[in-house]
Amino acid sequence: MTAYQPDALIAADIDAYLATHAAKSMLRLITCGSVDDGKSTLIGRLLYDSKTIFEDQLSQLEADSRRVGTQGQNIDFALLVDGLAAEREQGITIDVAYRFFATEKRKFIVADTPGHEQYTRNMVTGASTADLAVILIDARKGVLTQTRRHSYLAHLVGIKEIVLAVNKMDLVGHDQSVFDAIVADYAAFARGIGIERFTAIPLSGLTGANVTTASPDMPWYDGPALLPHLETVAIDGDRAVAASFRMPVQWVNRPDLDFRGFAGLIASGRVSVGDRVRIAPSGKTTSIARIVTYDGDRQDAIAGEAVTLVLAEEVDCSRGDVIAAAENPPEIADQFVAKIVWMADTPLVPGRSYSLKLGTQLVGATVQPPRHVVDVNSQEERPADTLALNDIGLAEVYADRPIVFEPYAKGSALGGFILIDRATNATVAAGMIDHALRRAQNVHWQSAVVTREAHARQKGQAPKVLWFTGLSGSGKSTIANMVEQKLHAMGRHSFLLDGDNIRHGLNRDLDFSEAGRVENIRRVGEVAKLMADAGLIVLTAFISPFRAERDMVRALLPEGEFVEIFIDTPLAVAEDRDVKGLYAKARAGEIAEFTGISSPYEAPERPEIRIDTTKETAEQAASRIVEHVLGIWSYDL
């Protein structure tokens, strides 16, 4: 194996060489297959043939191959693409690695992902930025389960260009009939899942046949070799330019009072000075006054460029808004159906509020129980209650406010989203919007004539939701009842929602599973919000063990109206009191998922009020809460 050998033009005329290379385009691709398919060998071959491996890297590789390689005395290309020490020890690639090489025509970024079954997440991640997918097949084995899995995922993520690389042709005697049979087999499968076209190439990563140049070993094949195909295939960017103009606003550029520009990456279409544009979701229209860049003002700009737009009129526009072609703006909805790929070890909790990021919009959103999940191997749909790591499902998503979007089929920039766990901040899922739910588009908010302010004014008080949270037996109900008595005596209009009572009526259909608890709190939150809208001071006494749900209720209410009161009683103390005898039952295993025993309690991080019941009596605590609450609204009275 020899290393990097430079292009003759470099020595002869460097300026001419650089001029050629300045005008290159860029293709991002993903390679799918396992080490057994010869994937690493093929990538190594591409790097090597495009002169990207330097001498010191090659000698390092040779040394590593002898030390930890799996190819005997031969070079183990897997070592070239495997990076992290822990992975090397396990002998598997467990992540996405990015590799770079360039030819005279193009620069290539290769996302290399493993073929291992449990890593759907990594392949979807790698594929999300790819223009093209290379699906590797071992010619001796034909179309396997993993081939179907990789193809399904590539298609799911919307990759239009698929190359079926039938590798190890040298091991089947370069036999055309083997190749033809594999292609026919694959074509039948591909049609079935909606893949419109693919390019099949017979090759050998080991010998280099049909990798960079047509191989004399396979005269029967008259298509392009792999590299020439990669160099000439049309890039998706052109399709994006042909679509309608959209630019999600990333940042408002306001260096002084004279300049106000909207910075963003153009997601699709083109824009010219003078074009009419509409700001979504507000619907305001104006026109483009300037297209500003560091290199001077431009007359127009296209998809993929990062620019700063100045609008002709002073209209409201900020991060999260989308500047779009006036005559053809994107859709707006708060409920839609999406394909969701779950990427976290902790499964989806239907009904829980996650953060959803789409373009530059960040909103709260809940996911309903999936309509079905797809078996990634057989592509069969089966029912499921939730989504676990590497599951792909179709589910309804409800955002807490309308968002600007487009179906994923029209493009990823306004159709792809991520879900973020509010407690851990982890990215837990990737989603692709199918379509908006019609009911969301047609149900409009009824704006009441008697406003919530009018309700509150009539009662002479500022509405509040006093949210008591703590372990079972911590004293929530006791203290909340005392607080309400005091408020009532002082002429305040209040209402107490108690956990046990609500469970007997409104929420009697819910169980105590995590999903049931989430829905329990969601409903209570919505009821509390309606009562606060009516001007009441609402007191709620629920264990409400999960931070995410408490935060969800907080987000439902205007700033300052949600008062989180943490009744902080140590588990041992609560268990010792055991007023209802529940702890004894839970310890005896008679109650499943009991908070503090077999189900977690996530204590508030920054409650407005914290009551330590080992230091204060219930009476003292109630007085302090009333004082705190009245102190806040005394100036309102």
């Binding site: 990015y98 560091y294 990062a306 920039a413």
Partner: protein, 299 residues
């Protein structure tokens, strides 16, 4: 063909990342090492926020042992960009007189690794831009654009977040921070082509000139000031040299070269057969060395 060139696509991607961080984090900072990658990153920041100035300071974690020419360009570049320049030197390393001649790897640990942690903690920065590229080293090929650090600045390769499309999740808990690498997808050649195309000023040490040198342990070292300790028998000799990477001058190997212009440097780079980092003494350990350093908090 109407599409964008590879440099246009890379530039737009980097600008997008810079803006996302500024929009979503509270106190970003840009680590500025004065090398060519830093120069490109600073240039991209100017473009991303034009006509405003980049809305964050530059942070140089100094070791007091950088080349004189680096200090000169550092101050000038920060002033030209209209940005605040924060220079941090680990006071403990300063007090102990830690230097590359006596202290070996402790020099890097204390000045750079510890110094960086101190500076980030002191500034309360929740995001720090760094100029690392995925093509530099094997373990970096898998590094995300957004890399999350614990409050103690530790890096856990298993706890990194998947990055889909161009959606970055920048949410962190109090005390945690993010290292952001806007030029992750650039290669060394891309960097050089972009410097050429944009006319970006870089430290003159990248270009060949006669400079006083000694040869030691197979490396050509430049005698940049009178703190350089000559060993018995060593006499500085003027050689036409240039540097492929820049760091602390007693630790950075030069190459003999006549390439005095940008295109000649690129030509020489393309004609040589060793990869870029070979000149840095720090990387000559085992292959997993960079990953180990990263876990400990080295950038």
């Amino acid at each position: 063909m109407t599409g964008l060139t590879h440099l246009q696509r890379l530039e737009a991607e980097s600008i997008h990342i810079l803006r996302e961080v500024v929009a979503e984090t509270e106190r970003p900072v840009m680590l500025y090492s004065v090398g060519k990658d830093s120069a490109v990153m600073l240039h991209l920041a100017k473009k991303a926020f034009f006509p405003a100035r980049p809305p964050f300071p530059l942070l140089h974690v100094d070791t007091t042992w950088k080349f004189q020419a680096m200090y000169e360009l550092r101050d000038r570049a920060a002033e030209a960009a209209g940005m605040e320049l924060i220079v941090h030197r680990n006071p403990e390393a300063e007090a102990l007189g830690i230097n590359p001649f006596d202290h070996g790897s402790r020099h890097t640990d204390m000045w750079k690794t510890e110094g960086l942690k101190q500076a980030l903690t002191a500034g309360g920065y929740d995001a720090a831009f760094g100029g690392a590229r995925r093509d530099e080293e094997k373990s970096r090929a898998k590094e995300r654009v957004f890399s999350f650090r614990s409050a103690a600045h530790g890096w856990d390769p298993k706890a990194q977040r998947p990055e889909l499309w161009n959606l970055y999740n920048s949410r962190i808990h109090k005390g945690e921070s993010i290292r952001v690498f806007p030029i992750s997808n650039w290669t060394e050649l891309d960097i050089w082509q972009y410097i050429l195309q944009e006319g970006i000023e870089i430290v003159p040490l990248y270009f060949a000139a006669p400079r006083p040198t000694v040869e030691r342990d197979g490396m050509l070292l430049m005698v940049d000031d009178d703190r350089f300790r000559l060993q018995p028998g060593e006499v500085p000799v003027d050689r036409s040299i240039r540097f492929r990477t820049l760091g602390c001058y007693p630790l950075t190997g030069a190459v003999e070269s006549e390439a005095a212009t940008l295109s000649e440097v690129i030509q020489e780079m393309l004609l040589t057969t060793t990869s870029e980092r070979q000149g840095r003494a720090i990387d000559h350990d085992q292959a997993a060395s960079m990953e180990k350093k990263k876990r400990e908090g080295y950038f």
